[in-house]
Amino acid sequence: MPIKNQHTSNQQANELAAKYPALLSEARRISANVVHGSHGRRKRGSGETFWEFRRARDEDPASAIDWRRSGRSDALFVRETEWEAANTVFLWRDNSPQMNWRSNDKLPLKCDRAAVLLTALSIVLLRGAERCMVPGVSQKPGTGIGAIERISREIITGTSLANSIILENSRNHAHLVIASDFLEGAQIWTQRLKRISQNGISVILLHISDPAEENFPFTGHVLFADSGNAEKIDMGRAQAAKTIYQQRFKAGREQIKAIASKNNWHFLNHRTDQHPANVFLALYQYLGVK
């Protein structure tokens, strides 16, 4: 069993690695749409953007004095810049077998779409001098353009388990983006996110779903199976289950949404047949507002 597991995970890693260039380039394409940059903290601090000139104080070193400004008057001025702090953004992608599914060859796998979105996000963030990290995979957070390659690879090829969302190095201003289909149900997820909610981290739950999961287009005699477990459900007339299923699916999503709103987190919904740019902009905005 372990051998098999290892084999499958190796195989999976290989498959994931094979997809890496394509997904990365897609992520780059999407991220190119966003004008990025460090976001000011609206207070003095270390940064590059000018914030204010203030009278030099005694403790200021001579090198801090802005001589050009000081030359225009008798007093000495120090040039203050806005405090620009880098956020750490944790990007976590659900790698459960359910994510590795699509209803139609023309649609991307759910996990691929999640990887694309998160990678695009990481590219933008790293360009904007933020710190990114993949919980459970990254040894240390990445900063700067140089880390794009590493973080992207870790997002796309990394296989972190759901209970590995343990955020070390987490600070108050840290963000966590969770891309998943949340099909395990609200209860399990409440459990998982409990500790994180206590940390006061800002979390974005990105709910990714396949259109077939929402529309339930099946008719006739269908034997439903799930690659994650051995469960099989034989339905004589699948169309009869449509209404109830849709209600349940919606309710499940609402419950996840409820978790988000309870903790004052954000909830985003994305279907794989939609263009990823919309949800990507929303993601970026949520991260940028704070």
């Binding site: 077998p97 359910q98 994510m99 599914w101 060859d105 289909d181 099909l183 149900g185 396949d210 077939a212 999961e213 099946f218 008719t219 006739g220 005699h221 269908v222 034997l223 439903f224 199976a225 799930d226 690659s227 994650g228 469960e231 459900i233 034989d234 339905m235 004589g236 007339r237 699948a238 169309q239 009869a240 289950a241 109830i244 299923y245 349940r248 699916f249 499940g252």
Partner: protein, 904 residues
């Protein structure tokens, strides 16, 4: 008209009882579920019971499947619909079928109709007897046969290529014990023709029982009723019972069509004479006339040896003008007869060999006794002897003449006589020359005169305008003697010089083919003929099956029959064509009494359903499969397979086009491409690099021509000397690097090309090497010169047209400069317009002209002179101008002299 539906295999209908079982099975077997991977399966739990309500095949699908099964079962029971039949069969049936030549074209209709009638009678429980009118035998008895055996007999019977023998049948019926026993019901499937005995047969049949005569309304008896020789061709009589159009084909013995004529028969006009113009040469090759597309023995008319080229022997005496062959009689005769006869000379001292059917005896004087005897015997036995008068006959007559002659010739129009040279008078209508143009000038100045005796005029075929005979003829034994009262050379008259001489001889020659024409048959023992080639009922020529008997050539003319069937009869020397309608009297069907029912046969075919039902089942099965795919949501498979099908189809089509297009750019030279636009050409040799350079060189030259002159050549062409047609080539550039072996055909082609004004530019391309060697004739060229006709050559003189055809040039550079240029020594040129057909050099011009795709020069030059490439181009342009414009610039040769004179 549809009649009853019956099942040939009714027992399989029992399987229909199983249909309810199928219904139950179909209901019990739900379709296989579709396996669907679905992650949110959690939400589907406990919905199972709700949705697994009896999943059944939809009703319409079940009906569809049941109908598949039902159609297969029905198909296996072989349902057929038989044509409707009005007749009530309450007596034994006698079925009489005309299976003669007229029934062949529509035999399948007759067969089907006979089967229908027999079937109906059999269903009514009646016994059936069947008799075919053509194949009826003298001692045949009429018996009832079991239905199956009868059907088989009907199925296997083939129509015959001769007429039904109604008379014989009448006799047999009158004596048949079967007929006498009981009244019968008689159905006669007639071909609608009366061959003379129908009335008798009708009478007999009416006395036997209830008679019904049925005809096929589609049958039109389209036939060739006769064939006649006309001076200009053939007159062919065509008969038909209904209006029709068609085409007559004249064929030779291999079936090749020599001539066609279209004919049209309207509904009023049932007989038409089609005139088929046919030159004698073609007529001699013709073996049959045929109506195209009609498979009937009557649509074929065979021709026998009376049409073939006759063999002809000439016995010539010692020539009077022995040293002047153009004045010899034999010369004129051979000229006149050559196209129409196979002429051989006969040595009069040695006449033991077999003699040809026609012998021409010139004015030989006294023959040797043996020869004389041999000739008499020959004529007696059926030979045709054509004689020409002359001084020797005039002085001394023998007995091989048609009419007695006065001794001594008659001189007309001489300087001392007052009679004018005589012309022909019109030909009498009993003369074989009747219809020929008599108004041609023949100016008879001398003739031998026939002794006037009673009955002379019967022997005269042509007279002069004063009434004296010019051509006389008489039957001798079984043969014939024809005498021209003038010589065969133009010393007595201008007859041998005129066209009418040929025309008269042409009329005489066919007489030999059938020597016993007009002859008394009793005199000679007739040859026996055997059938070499038979005409079958479908009008095809076949090998005889051996059931015929040999035929005496002088047999009574009788219609063809089973013992002497239609076809080509021959004894090796003499052949006789017997055609189906020869000597056959065909009348319309006589009026019948009211009791006889005259009707049309019912052509309604039996309709069989098995095939249709099986295809229906197959189609339903395919529909069912598609429906299953759609029902199980696997439409993507459908789409994909549809796409694949379209792609495959597209590829198939494209492939077709590609393969179809391939021959167009195959290597064979297309003469039209060369004619359409001026193209320079080069000889492709085995060396691909040289070929490329030749092509590039001529392309470069073409481009310069296009830029500088009004010559606008298209892409150059490569020539394969062995296969391509050279006639359309303007200028042929030949990079001549090594010895060549040309086939005889190629040599002939090349020689013809050079003679007809083509130009061959031979470039040995080795001036660079020759500078090192001692010069002399190139060994490779030597090999070529030994194969093609090369006129005397010389180096180009200073004032040659090549130096001034367009540009004024002094040398002829290519890649090299120094090598001499050779042209024909004869200034006027051996061929046309003073243009040398050969230009031979070794300066490698192609290299100097060659350009690449961008127009840049390809090869480096020896740089022995300034502007070498430009000069090479100028030489090339001069060369093409020289070919095209000829020597007109040669005038400039005289310009210096003219200018000098003007100055004076």
């Amino acid at each position: 008209m549809l009649g009853s539906l019956i099942f040939l295999n009714p027992w399989s209908l029992l399987a229909l009882l199983l249909l309810p079982v199928f219904w139950l099975i179909l209901s019990a077997l739900p379709p296989q579920p579709v396996l669907q991977n679905f992650p949110p399966i959690r939400y589907l739990r406990d919905l199972q019971d709700k949705t697994s309500s009896p999943q059944k095949i939809p009703l319409w699908l079940r009906i569809l499947r049941l109908s598949i099964v039902a159609s297969i079962i029905l198909a296996l029971s072989f349902p057929v619909i038989l044509p409707r039949s009005d007749t009530v069969y309450d007596r034994p049936l006698l079925l009489i079928i005309d299976d003669g030549w007229a029934s062949a074209a529509n035999w399948s209709n007759v067969q089907a109709s006979a089967k229908t009638i027999a079937n109906a009678a059999d269903l009514a429980g009646q016994q059936i007897a069947i008799v075919f009118t053509s194949t009826v035998q003298q001692n045949q008895s009429i018996i009832f046969e079991p239905y199956g055996q009868l059907l088989e007999k009907l199925q296997n019977h083939k129509p015959q290529a001769f007429a039904p023998n109604h008379g014989l049948l009448t006799g047999i019926l009158q004596q048949s014990p079967l007929i006498k026993q009981q009244p019968m019901q008689i159905v006669w499937l007639s071909d609608g023709n009366d061959y003379g005995q129908v009335t008798a047969l009708l009478g007999t049949l009416s006395s036997i029982g209830k008679l019904q005569v049925l005809r096929d309304p589609e049958q039109n008896n389209l036939r060739i009723a006769g064939l006649q020789i006309e001076p200009s061709g053939l007159k062919i009589r065509i008969n038909s019972d209904s209006k029709t159009t068609g085409m007559l084909l004249a064929q030779d013995k291999n079936g090749n069509v020599l001539q066609r004529s279209v004919f049209e028969l309207t509904s009023e006009q049932t007989t038409i004479d089609v005139t088929m113009p046919m030159p004698l040469e073609l007529r001699n090759r013709m073996t049959a006339v045929r109506i195209d597309g009609v498979s009937s023995a009557a649509a074929v008319h065979l021709l026998d040896s009376s049409w073939a080229i006759p063999r002809l022997g000439i016995i010539a005496g010692r020539n009077r003008n022995s040293d002047q062959s153009l004045l010899s009689e034999r010369f004129y005769l051979e000229k006149a007869l050559r196209p129409f006869a196979k002429i051989s000379a006969i040595d009069q001292s040695n006449m033991t060999e077999k003699l040809p059917p026609i012998i021409v005896l010139l004015d030989t004087g006294k023959l040797s006794d043996t020869a004389d005897l041999r000739l008499s015997e020959y004529v007696e036995k059926g030979g045709l002897l054509i004689r020409f008068a002359g001084p020797r006959l005039a002085t001394r007559q023998d007995d091989l003449i048609p009419v007695p002659l006065r001794s001594g010739g008659r001189l007309l129009g001489s300087s001392l006589g007052w009679e004018q040279p005589q012309q022909l008078s019109p030909f009498a209508d009993n003369s074989p020359f009747f219809g020929l143009d008599h108004q041609q000038q023949i100016n008879v100045t001398m003739q031998v005169l026939a002794d006037s005796s009673p009955g002379l005029s019967d022997h005269v075929w042509a007279r002069l305008s004063d009434g004296t005979p010019l051509v006389t003829s008489a039957i001798r034994g079984s043969g014939r003697i024809v005498l021209f009262h003038v010589t065969a050379a133009p010393d007595w008259s201008q007859l041998p010089l005129s066209g009418i001489f040929v025309a008269m001889l042409k009329r005489i020659l066919p007489l030999a083919a059938n020597p016993i024409v007009d002859l008394d048959n009793n005199l000679n023992p007739s040859p026996m003929l055997d059938l070499k080639m038979a005409i079958n009922a479908k009008g095809q020529l076949t090998i005889p099956d051996g059931s015929h008997q040999i035929l005496p050539a002088n047999a009574e003319p009788e219609p063809v029959n089973a013992t002497h069937p239609a076809g080509l009869w021959s004894n090796g020397r003499f052949s006789l064509a017997r055609n189906v309608l020869d000597n056959l009297e065909i009348n319309d069907f006589p009026q019948t009494s009211d009791e006889v029912i005259i009707g049309n046969i019912d052509n309604t075919k039996t309709i069989r359903f098995a095939g249709f039902l099986l295809s229906l089942a197959l189609i339903l099965l395919i529909i069912d499969n598609f429906l299953i795919l759609i029902l199980s949501g696997k439409t993507s498979i459908l789409k994909r397979s549809a796409k694949t099908a379209i792609i495959l189809l597209a590829f198939g089509l494209a492939g077709n086009f590609m393969f179809a297009a391939k021959p167009a750019n195959a290597e064979q030279l297309d003469p039209f491409a060369v004619i359409e636009q001026t193209r320079l050409a080069y000889v492709a040799i085995d060396n691909a690099a040289i070929d490329r350079l030749s092509h590039a060189g001529l392309k470069g030259l073409s481009r310069e021509l296009y830029l500088r002159t009004t010559v606008e050549p298209a892409e150059p062409v490569a020539i394969n000397l062995e296969t391509d047609d050279l006639n359309v080539i303007l200028l042929l550039y030949w990079p001549f690097l090594s010895e060549v072996e040309l086939s005889d055909a190629a040599i002939i082609k090349l020689n013809t090309y050079l003679k007809n004004g083509g130009m061959l530019v031979i470039d040995t391309q080795d001036a660079g090497l020759r500078a090192l060697s001692a010069g002399g004739v190139d060994p490779a060229l030597k090999s070529l010169f030994s194969q093609i006709d090369i006129p005397a050559l010389r180096q180009v003189p200073k004032d040659h047209v090549l130096t001034r055809a367009y540009y004024l040039i002094e040398s002829f550079p290519g890649r090299y400069v120094d090598a001499p240029l050779w042209v024909e020594a004869d200034r006027k040129g051996s061929s046309l317009d003073g243009v040398s057909s050969l230009v031979i050099g070794s300066n490698d011009w192609a290299a100097a002209w060659a350009i690449d795709e961008e127009g840049q020069p390809l090869a480096g030059l020896s740089a022995q002179m300034d502007n070498q490439r430009e000069m090479a181009t100028r030489f090339g342009i001069n060369l093409v101008m020289y070919v095209l414009a000829g020597n007109y610039k040669a005038d400039q040769v005289h310009i210096p002299t003219l200018l000098e004179r003007l100055q004076q």
